[in-house]
Subunit: 460 residues, 2 copies
């Protein structure tokens, strides 16, 4: 077995040669850092990185190298370069700092108006509470199938059929501990480290956070209030790289309240199909829609994962239950992750969720309350001259943008909270929107009006 | 800025050179695969890999290369070699296949005795069920601090003080959706891809599964029934590599029921401290202890994470709630992971858990029931000549080992289930124990006895 020994030595030598080159590469990165510092240059090179990733994929195709391996190694190298160049995220006031400061002010007995958190003040349906209690008392307090109890998945099948005429098997459904987990499991099932995912900003911070946690590059397509938050389809096409595996969409939008036109929605699905991307459609706000709102389940175009949750429609944030719909293989991968990390969703809560799916009256009530709040809040905020606000088609937020060039919403949110005890979320949490902030309509009308009037006063 | 351009070209060139070498390395791996196939050799090289990892760390120290980066790249390369060599896990009957087959048999109206799942058949304390219901009705149905509600963390402080005279701050505690999540978050907070963690086998499969999910190498220290499941301290020391960041211990043991001697426990903590390792002590079965059982909280030796759960002691499996205790920094990292993936544990369940901590009577009852089951089951199983069984010091399992050299517990478990409708977990799920199987004492005495008698009949 001399041959084996000699092959093994070769493997060993090559391993160290690879590390030598990595070392050399890091040293060049340090040279660049020094140069940049000397000339006061900005440190990020996202474009260069993305180009390099594309070229690496081409190189792999040409040479027959496993692309996943190459992209993962490249990602590690790029991260190291950033680390060596002293790249750190700018520290600004984020929605999280506002939220935690608001919480501590509130617990210090200050009367804080919480227009920051995306949580409706409605009660959950009585039938859900009753059913959870009943199920708990009847000893539905055991481990369940990690995909969710069959009864809930059947009820969900029925619900999706009634609502969208969408027909699927139980194997296409996964019950998750909240919409967040569905997003996390979705990404970990369809995208690998070093690959990329398209995001349309502004959007819910959790997408980017989850991608970054997994070492996946978010490729951002910005939209703007000047374009009515419409997404430019050409920009989507241009943004797709060889590394891209999915695009995330979510309408009604958090934070803008925008609902995409059906023709644009369909066009995105077609682009995704043409480029073999998964569409991750987060439809958590789908009941709070006051204009025609497309669902991915109404289209038979390509690969998709729908994520949703009982949190908003049924005001069940504190129950931590959501779901995902996808093809059998993806659901099975997502199930493995769920089973590994949390085993399953609490059994009695799953029973409660069955009742939620039948709670039509409460959904109607919540939906109409939210509609009134949007009208009211929009009419109030439009009185403020320095803000431009899109009138939401749905969702539960306003996302006003200041027309003052130098407006800094992080500072504004911070002052508004410290001086006037009103909490809003600065725009930086939702993308590159320093002049915008998000107002949540989770509070009652009185608080919303009072909050917006305080904002008006602060803005002078 | 010609200089910048030239540095960038250099980075680019080096990147492709690195990939060229990776390609070359992969080709050598293919050569090895071919050679091995030709000579019918076994494919795994764990020892060689571990040696290479160690050498890579030395190399990094010498050259000043970031060790984390190097180990991550090395891990990716090793995985690729395995993939190219067609390495796949042996497909055997695992505890999971038994469990899912048992579930489907059971739902086909077969009267299956489930001695496989680690779930007590006791009811959760009434006070917990009542409190969850009350809290739900009083609208404790909102997002909470991702670390857990302060009231529960205070109650836990008090509980740990009473039970172990352990004093800590609320910042040292994290409420998690089950013990599994605590393990997952623990690893992701203290170990990186390509590094390693020591495991003492046989043990709960979730440790290894979680490590593998994160690309962390499990280094296994085997124990055997011949040594009364005692762990060899010298073996622990010898197993520690330069890549090792933590050791996992869990007593009373799942599956053996072993409780470690205090002197050995302390010795492990001291070894860990000397080598700067974290001790992850999973104390989920700590109430089911019928001999003196050490807790990590009773020792002030080095870095640790305690993980635990309300599942076993309080029979709250289906509530999905557990906790972790550690230093402030680790808890804060674990909190970030929790907040990213699941936001928080359902609010009303956290209120219920407060009552669990006060349910002394139920704990005493459950503990004494489990003790009786252990006695009874042990007395029954020892009648079987071909099995050697350690008499459990605690926990809720028996882990008999066949004295027949050729006994295959996977096949046995499968036959036992298919022919006699008794489910047990084959030993391969808990490590390299093909002659052992686990009997869970989660069922009532009658079923346990009936199950063990059926086993006896099957074994002839």
């Amino acid at each position: 077995m001399q041959e084996l020994g000699s092959f093994r030595n070769k493997i060993r030598d090559l391993t160290f040669k690879i590390l030598e080159l990595i070392h050399e590469r890091n040293n060049v990165a340090l040279n660049i850092a020094e140069l940049k510092q000397r000339h006061g240059l900005n440190i990020e090179n996202e474009e260069i990185e993305i180009k390099l990733e594309d070229d690496v994929v081409s190189f792999c195709e040409e040479k027959g190298i496993n692309e996943e391996l190459a992209l993962k190694v490249l990602h590690s190298l790029l991260e190291e370069s950033k680390r060596l160049q002293g790249y750190t995220k700018q520290s600004v006031v984020t929605p999280m700092t506002v939220a935690s400061r608001a919480m501590s002010l509130a617990s210090a007995a200050k009367n804080v108006i919480r227009l920051d958190i995306g949580e409706p003040d409605f009660p959950p349906p009585n039938s859900v509470v009753e059913e959870c209690s009943r199920a708990m008392k009847e000893r539905k307090t055991h481990y369940t199938d990690s995909r969710g109890i069959p009864q809930l998945r059947e009820a969900l099948q029925q619900y999706l059929m009634t609502k969208y005429k969408f027909s699927c098997n139980k194997e296409n459904l996964l019950i998750t501990p909240g919409g967040r987990f569905a997003i996390f499991a979705a990404f970990s099932s369809i995208v690998k480290e070093g690959q990329s995912v398209l995001l349309i900003e502004p959007n819910w911070p959790a997408y980017k956070e989850n991608l970054e946690f997994a070492g996946i590059r978010p490729i951002v397509i910005k939209t703007s209030i000047e374009d009515n938050w419409d997404v430019d389809l050409e920009k989507i096409k241009e943004s797709i790289r060889k590394t891209t595996r999915a695009i995330v969409i979510s309408y009604p939008s958090n934070p803008t309240g925008k609902i995409i036109r059906r023709e644009d929605f369909k066009a995105i699905l077609e682009i995704a199909r043409d480029y073999n991307l998964y569409v991750v459609s987060d439809e958590i706000y789908n009941e709070y829609a006051y204009a025609d709102c497309p669902s991915i389940l109404q289209y038979d175009v390509g690969k998709f994962i729908l994520t949703s949750s009982f949190s908003k429609t049924w005001a069940m944030t504190g129950f931590r239950i959501g779901y995902a719909v996808s093809d059998k293989d993806v659901i099975s991968k997502m199930q493995k992750v769920l089973s590994l990390i949390v085993t399953c969703v609490p059994e009695f809560i799953q029973y409660g969720a069955i009742k939620a799916l039948q709670a039509e009256e409460e959904v109607r009530r919540n939906t109409s309350i939210m509609k009134r709040r949007i009208e009211l809040a929009y009419n109030e905020i439009r009185k403020i001259d320095s803000l431009i606000t899109y009138k939401p088609d749905g969702g539960m937020y306003l996302f006003p943008v200041s027309n003052r060039e130098d407006f800094d919403s992080s500072r504004f949110a911070s002052e508004l909270l410290e001086k006037r005890f009103v909490a809003v979320s600065p725009g930086c949490g939702f993308g590159d929107y320093p002049r915008a902030f998000r107002i949540s309509l989770g509070q009652n009308e009185e608080k919303i009006i009072q909050g917006i009037r305080t904002i008006s006063e602060m803005l002078g």
